[in-house]
Symmetry: C2
Subunit: 159 residues, 2 copies
């Protein structure tokens, strides 16, 4: 059964993020809002989501705080909130990854700044802007991890 456990209890920020946008549609809807698509019907057309699914998703995203509903009650407009915009670096990074590995050199979408310049590839860098070698990074339990989590990770990460 698709009784997806809520990931929220995994004590991982990624899991919590995925609880909100970890389905196939949410990110596409957010992409649409990022692009500037604002209407229910247009999102439905652009993405291909079923209307009831779209209703459910929009309600969830509004409830979670990523999306704000404006306009009249009869003709709402949807837009990203600060929280929603704050996710865009992640979304753009995924899109760029798709560009690199699937679009074979010709990205169907380009993100540009207000001067029409293409936004560079999202990277992990040092505080000074130097590129980091991804293979040399370490992901560790942080201050928010309880002792139990740390012990758990010690068990799980054997080298």
């Amino acid at each position: 059964m698709p009784v997806r456990k809520s990931l929220a209890d995994l004590n991982c920020s990624l899991a919590k993020a995925l609880d909100v946008v970890g389905d196939g549609w949410s990110m596409l809807i957010l992409r649409d809002l990022f692009i500037g698509v604002q209407r229910f019907q247009d999102i439905a057309n652009s993405t291909g989501v079923a209307r009831n699914t779209l209703t459910e998703r929009l309600n969830r995203l509004v409830g979670a705080g990523l999306v704000v509903r404006t306009g009249t009650e009869h003709r709402p407009l949807y837009a990203l909130s600060d929280m929603g915009y704050d996710l865009m670096p992640a979304l753009v990074a995924m899109m760029q990854w798709g560009d690199r590995w699937y679009a074979d050199g010709k990205p169907p979408m380009v993100i540009e700044d207000h001067k029409g310049r293409e936004v560079p590839v999202v990277k992990l860098t040092t505080a000074k802007g130097k590129d980091l070698d991804l293979r040399k990074l370490a992901v560790k339990p942080g201050p928010g991890a309880e002792a139990m989590t740390k012990a758990w990770l010690d068990t799980v990460i054997r080298r």
Copy 2:
């Protein structure tokens, strides 16, 4: 019915990316591999995925090229490929977003470089490293978009 249409035909790199990692588990599995968890059983424990689901996901990720299987046939080790590592900026950006909006100041996971310095927040910047105002960006059909896609977007984005 969860007859998720394949998103791949949406002519969007994001959709293609989501086709591979757009489910709840894949990103968590990739996170584990990024952390250094290498064994089937450990991934299962760490994430809570059912074993058959994990099998399916790992096979899919290996097939898609994000994960490589090493070690003996009886006791495989799983690791990120170049393609998998290349997705880490997106994954890290999502994790950081979760930190900011859900972990209330105490991120349970911290990404560090080889010197133990915390990796800064992933951002969209100009080529020169200057922060970009997300609200001033534009997402446009690029060279990879067929004329039809462009026309479609014109229809869908009304301002």
